[in-house]
């Protein structure tokens, strides 16, 4: 308790990485629902994040999904055309919605 930081005398060896070569993050084929507007989702969302990031948000309201899409445009600067933003929101609410408008 009284000694939170322990001082360590360290002998430094040569630096080496503990992995051999480049690391590779595996690709996971998330089971995302097909339907109207999916092409727009694929074109606009997948550039930055996996489908896992979408479907693991849980079922949400239309307003929630609209705000998420807005956030991607406003804060994350995703170049999503206005008409696509509406299509993506509709798709998300239809397939990953909770039935509530807000």
């Amino acid at each position: 308790m009284n000694k939170i930081l322990l001082l360590v005398m360290l002998s430094v060896g040569s630096l080496f990485a503990q992995v051999k070569g480049d690391v590779e993050v595996p690709y996971i084929a998330y089971q995302i629902k097909m339907g109207k507007g999916f092409d727009a989702v694929q074109a606009n969302c997948l550039m930055c994040h996996s489908f896992g990031y979408i479907i693991n948000q849980g079922p949400q309201s239309r307003l929630f999904w609209k705000k998420k899409v807005d956030k991607m445009i406003t804060h994350f600067k995703a170049p999503i055309p206005k008409e696509d933003a509406k299509i993506v929101t509709d798709y998300l609410f239809e397939h990953y919605g909770n039935g509530e408008l807000k």
Partner: protein, 400 residues
């Protein structure tokens, strides 16, 4: 919908489709989802974990990891914000820059970091502010973590203060920004930069290159990350490459919009009336999680069960952990093991001999040295980001 049905409808592993469609006007809180299984695919330097996303990687540690005071590197949770993470780092060439309001700008190699500064260690809990977010209904925005977006490791590195001292802070230095090497898909996307006020930084804040005696795993920020004991992990910047000293706060998305809770006494609000203003989540509240046994396990009648788990807070220190087997009516003290300092997990264990057949529920409640204790899940107020859940943990087993 009852809790049990709710659990049944939530699908395991990567494609979790959460089941509840009940939208309560008040917002309500319950036990986080605990039914998810580890995936069958391992990420680099990891064993298979609960997997929410591959890009950016989001991995949760299973409940079993909370039966031990130190979380193994290959079981430690992973949470990145931006998709583009360097997949190759040359340790001989990697440097960290210190600039801004300093007398002398520095660019320090890993070798210099390990040779020219005092080497220090601190064992500390790393927990995502959204850990246990699946406890909130209506579902709070963000990844629906169970309780496994946390771990405890022994970090080794150098004091941030020593680095700043070497660079020499100018008189009006007030804020320090930290940036890592992860990048967004678009240049215009803001970097995941954190800013801390000078007075938030004490000698316990370190720039760490080692975790439990090994290099940091890539997915935990190899080769360098910030370690801020007692604080939620949103400020523990990974693949730390730049420290910039400024005199005024720069507006940043990840500081101003994300990782904030209502700035009121209970840090809560209702879904209809979101509370303004908000404040950053900063330090951790008192929490404990049971690591063994796990929900749904069977134990023998008249056998000797040892309930194990971990407890922690912001570094104030855990005083006691209590166990209840009668729904919270009576509480018994658990044995504690505290050998890694006040920022580390306190391990607790509790001997229990089941004398009645059927279901028994263990509850664990931690109390810290200031007398702050965990509330029941149902007594925690809802917040829109699903942050800072610290409800009394429950595990139900069957005595056979």
């Amino acid at each position: 919908m009852k809790r049990r049905e709710f659990l049944k409808t939530s699908i395991v592993a990567s494609a979790a489709v959460l089941g509840s469609s009940t939208t309560l006007s008040a917002g309500e809180t319950h036990q986080p989802i605990d039914s998810r299984k580890v995936s069958d695919m391992a990420f680099p330097e990891k064993r298979p974990l609960i997997t929410y996303s591959d890009r950016p990687p989001l991995l949760e540690s299973p409940r079993s990891t909370f039966a031990r005071g130190i979380t193994e590197n290959d079981e430690f949770f992973v949470r990145w914000h931006l998709p583009d993470i360097p997949t190759h780092i040359d340790p001989d060439k990697y440097t960290i820059k210190i600039n801004g309001l300093v007398e002398k700008e520095l660019e320090i190699s890993l070798k210099e970091l390990k040779e020219d500064f005092e080497q220090v260690e601190v064992t500390a809990v790393l927990q995502c502010g959204g850990n246990s977010r699946s406890a909130f209904t209506p579902i709070a925005g963000g990844i629906q973590w169970g309780s496994g977006a946390m771990g405890c490791a022994k970090w080794k590195g150098v004091r941030l203060r020593d680095l700043l001292h070497k660079a020499g802070l100018k008189k009006d230095a007030h804020w320090i920004g930290f940036n890592g090497k992860d990048n967004a898909a678009y240049y215009e996307t803001p970097n995941f930069v954190r800013e801390l006020e000078m007075e938030e930084l004490d000698d316990h804040v370190i720039v760490a290159y080692e975790m439990n005696g090994e290099d940091l795993p890539y997915l935990n920020g190899y080769p360098l990350r910030l370690v801020i004991p007692g604080y939620y992990s949103d400020s523990w910047v990974k693949m730390l490459s730049n420290i910039t000293v400024t005199n005024k706060y720069k507006s940043l998305f990840f500081m101003d919009v994300a990782y904030r809770v209502p700035d009121n006494k209970t840090e809560s609000e209702t879904p209809e009336h979101k509370f303004k203003p908000t404040k950053p989540i900063t330090t951790m509240n008192v929490k404990s999680v049971i690591g063994y046994p796990e929900n749904g396990m069977k134990v023998y009648h008249n056998s000797h069960v040892v309930v194990r788990g971990v407890a922690f807070d912001d570094g104030t220190g855990i005083k006691d952990v209590y166990i209840s087997t009668d729904g919270g009516k009576s509480w018994d003290k658990a044995e504690l093991k505290q050998e890694n300092g006040r920022y580390a997990y306190t391990e607790f264990r509790y001997a229990f001999k089941p004398t009645k057949y059927g279901k028994v529920t263990f509850m664990a409640k931690a109390v810290n040295r200031l007398g702050k204790e965990q509330p029941f899940a149902k007594d925690i107020g809802w917040n829109h980001g699903g942050y800072k859940y610290n409800g009394i943990d429950e595990v139900t087993v069957e005595v056979v």
